[in-house]
Symmetry: C2
Subunit: 382 residues, 2 copies
């Protein structure tokens, strides 16, 4: 199948592009490379030295004989987008191409506006391009579990059946997103749902949890294929950050009490979930929503797991409760469903000691690259 991976130079996108190529799909990568630019601006850098995209692709070609198409540009530029689609003729589009950091979106007004405009307009352009010229194409769009917030009832997958005053309907699940970034994903979901209802497009919205890990079968093949691994306060996420903090002897940064429960998954499951969604596409007119995570953890629990694994390796690991830079509940009910991807055949890589060991060793290997000034959060929600 012709699969275009938008944002294919990023953490999830790069791993996904290679995985899909390995499965025999014809893969194209479309990326504006703006994430590398933001890293420069924030003076943050991935733990792992990532090669330029052209070099990555040349190495992949040398190892596998496969050529991935490359389109460098911004999907907010419609002329560029439609020209790329015409050339590539996608049957499925995997859309990772958004600003994906909550703290980035909360830096200030400009970053909030940038995040919402960039994400909403990029997705709108994609929907119009599909409507006009690729109506049968399947959009696989990355959403986030953070769209739901922390309601006091079970979180279903995208929809909920409500009985009210003697009548019943199945409606979009109510959303209470916790940052300007998470809001942008809620906006996208509504826009995509509309495009499916009104224009008959087909889409799968993957409400992904927090991804951890770095190696996949493909990105682990060669140093030049190595994936990015963020540990800074803006783009880094809980478990990955904890492992890197443990490697450099920085106290693990638990925000507030640490009772915040979230869905998590291994990056090897991310790439597999995308594959499963592509292979069993949504129907025309269908806006399908999957919750893409494999396990629920709270933040303190994760920190303690990393501490234990680190100590077993002889590392000194302290866990510290830092003032929470975010405004969020630190103790709350959280029970989210995730059966649809399992039903499609996902066999989860549950969080294990061996994964933690591997991630800690990976962090130790590159620990001289860590800039400790980037670890503590600098962006607050207030």
């Amino acid at each position: 199948m012709n699969v275009l991976v938008i944002g294919g130079d990023g953490y999830c996108g790069w791993a996904t592009a290679l995985h899909l190529a390995k499965q025999g799909h014809r893969v194209g990568i479309l990326d504006s490379l703006v994430r590398r630019h933001w890293d420069l601006q924030l003076q943050a850098d991935t733990l792992t030295p990532i090669a330029p995209i052209q070099q990555r692709l040349r190495r992949w070609h040398a190892l596998t004989g496969q050529t991935l198409d490359l389109f460098i540009g911004d999907i907010c530029n419609y002329e560029f987008l439609i020209a790329s689609l015409r050339q590539f003729q996608p049957e499925a589009i995997v859309h990772f191409g958004e600003q994906r950091s909550a703290p980035f979106s909360m830096i200030d007004r400009e970053h909030a506006v940038l995040t919402q405009v960039n994400n909403v307009v990029g997705t709108l352009n994609l929907l119009y391009a599909m409507k006009e010229e690729f109506p049968a194409c399947h959009l696989v769009k990355l959403g986030t579990m953070g769209e739901y917030g922390t309601p006091n009832i079970d979180i279903e997958e995208g929809y909920i059946t409500i009985e009210h005053n003697g009548r019943k309907d199945t409606l979009p699940y109510p959303k209470q997103p916790g940052s300007m970034y998470h809001l942008s994903k809620v906006h996208d979901s509504h826009n995509i749902h509309f495009a499916c209802r009104i224009w008959g497009l087909r889409a799968t919205d993957l409400n992904q949890g927090v991804v951890y890990g770095v190696l996949t079968d493909e990105t682990g093949m060669d140093e030049l294929l190595v994936n990015r691994l963020d540990y800074d306060g803006v783009f880094g996420t809980a478990l990955n950050r904890f492992c890197i903090q443990a490697a450099v002897g920085h106290p693990l940064t638990v925000y507030g009490r640490g009772g915040q429960t979230r869905g998590f998954l291994d990056i090897r499951d991310t790439v597999r979930c995308i594959e499963l969604a592509i292979n069993a596409p949504a129907q025309p007119g269908e806006f399908r929503v999957f919750n893409q995570f494999t396990e629920l953890f709270n933040v303190l629990e994760l920190a303690l797991k990393v501490q234990e694994a680190g100590r077993a390796m002889g590392l000194k690991v302290e866990v510290q409760n830092f003032p929470n830079p975010r405004v969020e509940l630190e103790e709350h009910y959280f029970n989210a469903k995730n059966t649809q991807l399992l039903d499609l055949g996902l066999q989860p890589h549950l969080l294990s000691d061996s994964l933690l060991d591997s991630l800690l060793n990976f962090a130790l290997k590159y620990k001289d690259r860590v800039d400790e000034a980037q670890i503590l959060p600098k962006v607050t929600w207030k």
Copy 2:
């Protein structure tokens, strides 16, 4: 109270600004005047000849001695916005300043993007300005009943209490908006809700129905204060359009079967609802939602009422079912709640024969200004 009316040169905004001034508030109008520009671009024009804003305000001053402050510019320009707010020092902000036509938003991709970016960024700028410098100010934001779509259960005011798997929570009411414009209002609602939850701002979201009528006590005082009255296929809305169609002998344009049920209200109730919301502000941190309409009608029912009133005046009035340019259910359940504004003291002007007579006579007075080429819809949802 210092009340800034954003979009105060528009149909609802102008009537509201004068009404609030009459009630003794110190009123400022902030408007980019872009709606007049769009009229020129679409070659559409209000039935009524509306004076330039400066002339309107001079006439109001001559009649009442009151001076309204005027700020001409775009709230998407943050520097302009914050400078205006600093000068005016608002205690309440009434925000009508958005692209408000569903067909306009569905013209093409550019108009969809324009609508969502304009509406979302304008409101984000306002929220940031309030957070930074006017945290006690009360935002009264115009939403639309169209945010809800046509669910098969009763529509509550903004929130719904859901019992699910033995637990219970009160959550934002699920939204299924029917155009790129309606989507933009849903995005706004989520953004404003966030600003109240996280920053403690106070806001009232008025999910308004379809407004009809043209005269209020204030706009009826003088020809130079006359309000706009749109009849074209882009900015015109059901009942107003029908009266003008009846006046010029054009068949009443019922889209599809006409079973589409919506909430409606008289413009005299619009201005009163805003006044009520301002006088009983939301609490700090509260995102309050009122459904702002007084009666439910379906479109065919309204056309028949206009036909009857027109015939009683000796007009020949035909009702015709036109192919529906929109994608929407033409027969559906619709039961929306609207008790909160009534509880605050709203005494509705229900749709009456005398209102229809008055509106028909008004349409007859200006019927030579009608361009019949503007009546039929040219924008389709597909």
